[in-house]
């Protein structure tokens, strides 16, 4: 079990900078998710930790040790590939035993460890069969078992659940969490699915275009996003982020939205926007579940009027898209009452709204 320190790591491929000045401290036994859109550099970062890619600048320390001169086979790092990379020409047994065989461990010990792992991953009944005959779900378990059996110092997983069907994914999420606690290993998990990251990780590192956007626990990031990117990325459905220019009109501060709508600013969110005098344009953020219909609950709540544009049923909830001029607000229709095309009033509680600077993206009003 190892702690990992990523110190100002940069990776360049020719002209293209994939990862820029990334620094991260991962503690022993922690489950950390590297979260970000495709191409953000999360897989490159993980490949650098594994040693599959060289580091252009900076260093990665394992328990304080720099392993960059150690060759891959000696690093003792567990890695689960996105497509599992199972040895398809070998049996399930030989896949599990590979890591032990190459260490020349004696046969009987290999056998007992393989059987124990197969049991743990519930694939004992497949041991003698060719690995290529497994279902996708079983292959995933095999990939994890194969890496876990050599008791690596850290475990790296590259989008391991992306190939699974939705039902099994939910099940595997719970399994992975239990496994990680059992093995007690430091786990780093690459994904673009923020639901996965939120449900599994102790800490999430959000990466965009090679840069670290925020690093913290799931709820910290959710409740206190540092910048607009993080606010947009985390949360399902995503936070409403309305961009516009600030304008003072008859001693009332308004956000003039690019699409034509106007949001009068009040209460907490107004002071957030005015906290930095240099900010003239920004984004208004409000989570869908915080928008409500019906009667106004507080004087600081902002009233908006819109038309019901789209209604979506997502699981147990109904999502409503409200159109205000050319801008869209997403909210929940908890009463199941709204109809397509209906004109409706809705409210944005200012205490729950967030303000972001348009230029830098950082959240305003935070000390």
């Amino acid at each position: 079990m190892s702690s990992i320190q990523i110190n100002n790591v940069t990776k360049r491929f020719g002209d293209f900078t994939a990862v820029e000045d990334l620094s991260l401290d991962i503690e022993e036994g922690e489950f950390v998710a590297l979260l970000g859109p495709s191409g953000c550099g999360k897989t490159t970062t993980m490949n650098m930790i594994a040693g599959i890619e060289d580091i252009s600048e900076g260093s990665i320390l394992f328990d304080g040790q720099d392993l960059s001169s150690t060759r891959i086979q000696d690093r003792n790092i567990g890695f689960v590939f996105q497509n599992y990379a199972i040895f398809t020409h070998l049996s399930v047994y030989r896949n599990l035993s590979y890591g032990l065989e190459v260490k020349k461990i004696n046969k009987s010990e290999v056998d007992s460890r393989v059987r124990a792992m197969a049991d743990r991953m519930s694939i004992t009944h497949r041991l003698e069969q060719p690995a290529s005959s497994l279902s996708v779900n079983e292959m995933q378990k095999l990939a994890i078992g194969r890496s876990a059996i050599v008791e690596p110092r850290i475990f790296l997983l590259d989008e391991p659940l992306s190939n699974l069907d939705a039902g099994f994914r939910a099940y595997m999420r719970a399994e992975l969490k239990v496994l990680q606690h059992e093995f007690g290993q430091t786990m780093i998990y690459v994904t673009h699915d923020q639901i996965e990251a939120m449900s599994l990780a102790d800490k999430i590192a959000i990466i965009d275009q090679g840069k670290l956007m925020q690093y913290g626990s799931p709820l910290d990031i959710y409740n206190s996003p540092d910048n607009r990117f993080v606010a947009n990325f985390i949360g399902s459905p995503g936070m409403n982020l309305i961009d516009g220019k600030l304008r003072e009109e008859k001693s009332q501060l308004k956000l003039m939205v690019h699409g034509g709508a106007e949001i009068p600013l009040k209460g907490q969110v107004k002071s957030n926007f005015t906290s930095d005098g240099s900010v003239h344009s920004g984004s208004f953020g409000i989570r869908p579940q915080d928008i409500y219909f019906g009667d106004k609950r507080s004087s600081n709540d902002i009233e908006m009027k819109g038309i019901v544009d789209v209604l979506e049923r997502v699981g147990p909830k109904r999502i409503v898209h409200l159109q205000v001029s050319e801008t869209n607000f997403i909210a929940f229709d908890d009463q199941d009452q709204l109809k397509l095309g209906e004109k409706v009033s809705f409210f944005l509680p200012s205490e729950k709204s967030m303000a972001f600077d348009e230029v830098s993206g950082r959240r305003l009003g935070v000390i």
Binding site: A166, A170, H192, P218, V314
Partner: protein, 353 residues
């Protein structure tokens, strides 16, 4: 009037048999087809398009038997799962290809091109070759090509699967809007049930090559007619418990939970039943509710707007969806009760009672 009708169609494959399938898709409808992978969903699209012929039964388009119609005569566009973009053409050339082949005017072509590049945010990649694009960009070009053709029906086979979660959510809404504005008939296949349920007017759930249930998303979600449908619709999936009706058939006894629930209706005394309850219909209770159960929480998934709790009872993991941010320690015990209006009962054969 039906746009597309599938009547008693059967198609035999070495691994399984697809059918008999009976479907009627209305003009201007957004029709979703959902099912686990490799169960024939793509084959249904191919049958509609005419790439394959049914072994038995008919595909009827408009009011014509489609057997005599070639693929190009059916007036449909298809977005394939593997995209099938022309690798030697740029994004722009790919998109306008069907229009050019169909003999559209230059004006119409440029109009359609502008429309789709706007909606799909692909203006910046129109001059690239597919080989130079990312997976998500390629997918949008494939969508653009199908849209630009402006056919009366669009067949989409997992069209947004390769996109990131956030982009998928956006594209979903855009697709729905486009469909509504152009009043096109959409047949949308996906193995992502959340996606299909969110976007479709009606959904056909395909299990083992047959239609297990057909109805509006609301119907399928709230009233699944069998266990096989109930277990694939909804994320996290429905929880199932084995139960038995009491002798006076007023209660169901659930052995694993060590408790019972009252039931309303005529049921066979003493018979076995499977009880299903969705994660969001299990409530966390503080004070002793009359019919509550105690569970051990093994893990907590904080998702921001809601929290998923994994509880364990015996060997079974139960998923609970609680609103907001719940602070429960792993390993603690928690009392829960079931929303009695939302209990689903299934016979031992798996059918809804």
């Amino acid at each position: 009037m039906n746009a597309i009708k599938i009547k008693n169609v059967i198609k035999t494959y070495p691994e399984f048999t697809l059918g008999p399938i009976n479907l009627e898709i209305n003009k201007g409808e957004f029709f979703g087809i959902f099912g686990p992978p490799s169960t024939g969903k793509t084959s249904i699209l191919k049958l509609i398009l005419g790439l394959i012929q049914p072994d038995e039964g008919q595909v009827i388009i408009g009011n014509q038997d489609a057997n005599a119609m070639g693929v190009s005569e059916r007036g449909m566009s298809m977005v394939f799962q593997n995209l099938a973009l022309f690798p030697h053409m740029t994004g722009r050339e790919n998109i306008i290809f069907p229009l050019k082949e169909g003999g559209a005017s230059d004006e119409e072509i440029s109009q359609q091109l502008d429309m789709v590049s706007d909606v799909l945010h692909i203006s910046h990649i129109l001059d690239k070759n597919p080989g130079q694009m990312s997976g998500g960009e390629r997918q949008r070009i494939a969508l653009g090509r199908a849209f630009a053709a402006n056919s009366h029906a669009m067949l989409l086979d997992e069209p947004i699967a390769a996109l990131d979660a956030r982009l998928r959510e956006e594209m979903r809404v855009e697709l729905k809007r486009l469909q509504r504005e152009n009043n096109q008939t959409f047949v949308y296949v996906s193995h992502d049930e959340e996606e299909v349920m969110a976007i479709s007017d009606r959904v056909a759930v395909i299990i083992d090559g047959k239609i297990a249930q057909l109805g509006t998303p609301d119907d399928v979600y709230s009233r699944p007619n069998s266990i096989s449908v109930a277990e694939v619709i909804g994320s996290p999936p429905m929880n199932f418990f084995d139960g038995q009706f009491s002798d006076d058939s007023m209660f169901i006894n659930i052995k694993s939970l060590g408790g019972r629930l009252p039931v309303d209706g005529k049921f066979k005394q003493g018979s076995k039943v499977t009880l299903g309850i969705r994660p969001e219909d299990i409530w966390l209770t503080q004070d002793g509710d009359k019919y509550d159960f105690e569970l051990s929480i093994i893990s907590v998934e904080p998702l921001g707007g809601y929290t998923i709790l994994n509880a364990q009872v015996g060997n079974q993991i139960i998923k609970i969806r609680a609103p907001g941010q719940v602070n429960l320690a792993e390993g603690s015990n928690q009392k829960v009760s079931f929303d009695q209006r939302r209990i689903h009962l299934f016979s031992t054969k798996g059918k809804r009672l």
